[in-house]
């Protein structure tokens, strides 16, 4: 036992942090995608609602009710050859104010030849003074496909709160056929309220979002542009390196969600999870 009160407090803090991990893989069996190995621990759980088609749906549930400073969560999903899996979350992920260490959230998605992964969680809400480091690593075989969306809301906007301080580091790495095709790290820290007000950052917007579609090319982007001549917030589309991207920025989370749904609806051959249609 250490006598130093500061380190004792740190130990207590550490012992109270939530840990959670979900790891599973899915396989194609007789034309249906089935769950294979599943590992769950801590406050992160996964539910598999009854199948609606040949693919498998998985829904993450954070029984801790949100993410606090020092928490560590990990998600690993591997989709076997030809399988199809749609991953979503039961609720918006709330990241609470964190006085000390940032929370860490690591997401790793792997898709083998011909597999399809849809990663469509509900939005992440960063409370004022939230601190989180997130990693999203995606490794796709050359013939695998992906539909991904992520929405981040700065503050509990429904309560009139805006994020003023904190730390948000979001590291994305997308590999396709072993080659790094997209990398990005979003880093917002310090005077986040002041930064978000800058025209080149968010011009005071409350929410941002990104969709990635693999494979994706100029023809897909053109098709989406033709079907969606207008958006509620700001939106931009592009395709390069074999994938397509849509980016959004809006004054309120509802507009951003509506714009995201419209693009996903255009880009996806399969129906979106029911949660998205509420």
């Amino acid at each position: 036992m250490r006598a130093d009160p500061a380190s004792a407090a740190a130990d207590i803090f550490e012992a109270n942090r939530a840990r959670g991990a979900v790891r599973f893989d899915v396989r194609l069996q007789d034309g249906m995608t089935r769950r294979h190995h599943l590992h769950e621990s801590g406050s992160l759980r996964v539910r598999f609602p009854s199948p609606e088609d040949d693919g498998l749906s998985a829904m993450f549930v954070n029984t801790a009710g949100g993410i606090a400073g020092g928490d560590r969560f990990a998600v690993e999903v591997a989709a076997g050859e030809g399988s199809r899996v749609t991953l979503s979350s039961a609720a918006a992920e709330k990241v609470y104010r964190a006085p000390g260490k940032p929370a860490e959230l690591d997401i790793a998605l792997t898709a083998a030849a011909g597999a399809h992964i849809a990663w469509l969680p509900q939005e992440t809400i960063l409370f004022d003074r939230a601190r989180i480091h997130r990693r999203i690593d995606i490794d796709l075989a050359a013939t695998a496909s992906l539909l991904l969306c992520e929405i981040v809301v700065f503050g509990r906007t429904a309560m009139g709160e805006r994020m003023r301080e904190g730390e948000f580091v979001d590291r994305w790495r997308l590999r396709r056929g072993g080659r790094l095709v997209f990398a990005e790290t979003v880093r917002l820290d310090g005077d986040i309220g002041g930064k978000l007000a800058h025209p080149a950052i968010a011009n005071g917007a409350a929410a941002i979002g990104t969709a990635l579609i693999v494979p994706g090319d100029a023809a897909l982007v053109e098709r989406i542009r033709e079907s969606l001549p207008a958006f509620r917030g700001e939106a931009g589309l592009s395709a390069w390196n074999g994938f397509a991207m849509a980016r959004f920025c809006a004054q309120d989370a509802a507009s951003l969600r509506a714009d995201m749904m419209a693009v996903l609806g255009c880009a996806s051959a399969v129906p979106l999870p029911r949660l998205w249609l509420n």
Binding site: T185, V186, P199, A200, I201, A205, E234, R247
Partner: protein, 240 residues
């Protein structure tokens, strides 16, 4: 401030540095044919959308791009490419080059940095070749602009902080040139913006010199959006 109050300037610049200065002024001059004049990094859309419409708003937009956007990220890539080249660590160089090439927010920004990087390397190999340059180039799939500058600079033994300042000056000047043609802005106002951004460039370079690849990060969501929306801009002078 008089020159005599800044002794570190004269002390730092020895005769040994003169070839370095000559090369830096050449490679990072607007006359060096990498084609920078054809790109605006999305500023053309920002002007179209009304986000940038005078010297003050241009300065604000560029200050953010330097501090929290591609300016800082590319500066870190340049430093790490330079370091890997200096150490002869080709595996590390490949890793930096791969990450930098993937670290672009849109098709047009990819074209911008890839085309300039390729041109920079080609001209350097033709007119300013240096031992080790051909080998390093053959080992990397692609070298985007900041990586190309870092590699060539290291091959010529140029100190990375000087190289980085010259690079950030070139990029900032090119942004101002694009902005001033689009707004439009007079030559004196353009120079005022460049002067006002000097401390921002210095601070960005200082942060980048000591940053790890893990420290890279940007937050310029709307500047990135501008480069996406530029693709469908009706009348365009620039390729990005």
């Amino acid at each position: 401030m008089t020159a005599s109050e800044r002794p570190h300037v004269s002390a730092a610049m020895t005769e040994l540095d003169h070839p370095a200065l000559y090369r830096l002024m050449t490679w990072l001059s607007p006359a060096f044919p990498v084609g920078g004049f054809a790109y605006s990094s999305g500023i053309e859309w920002a002007v179209e959308a009304g986000d940038v419409d005078d010297a003050a708003s241009l300065r604000g937009w560029l200050s953010t791009m330097l501090t929290d956007g591609s300016g800082f990220c590319d500066a870190v890539f340049l430093v790490h490419a330079h370091r890997a080249m200096e150490l002869g660590d080709i595996d590390r160089l490949r890793e930096v080059a791969e990450l930098a090439a993937a670290f672009v927010p849109s098709r047009e920004r990819q074209l911008e940095t890839t085309a300039q990087g390729r041109a920079f390397i080609e001209i350097a190999r033709s007119a300013w070749n240096s031992p080790g340059l051909d080998d390093a180039v053959s080992q990397c799939e692609a070298m985007v602009y900041p990586v190309a500058v870092g590699v060539v600079g290291a091959a010529h033994g140029i100190q990375s902080s000087l190289l980085l300042h010259a690079y950030l000056h070139a990029v900032t000047s090119n942004w101002i040139s694009a902005g001033s043609r689009l707004i439009p802005l007079g030559q004196t106002d353009s120079q005022r913006v460049l002067a006002a951004l000097e401390p921002v460039v210095t601070a960005t370079a200082v942060r980048a010199i000591s940053a790890s690849l893990d420290d890279i990060g940007s937050a310029t969501f709307r500047a990135d959006l501008a480069s996406l929306r530029h693709e469908t801009q009706y009348t365009r002078l620039f390729r990005s």
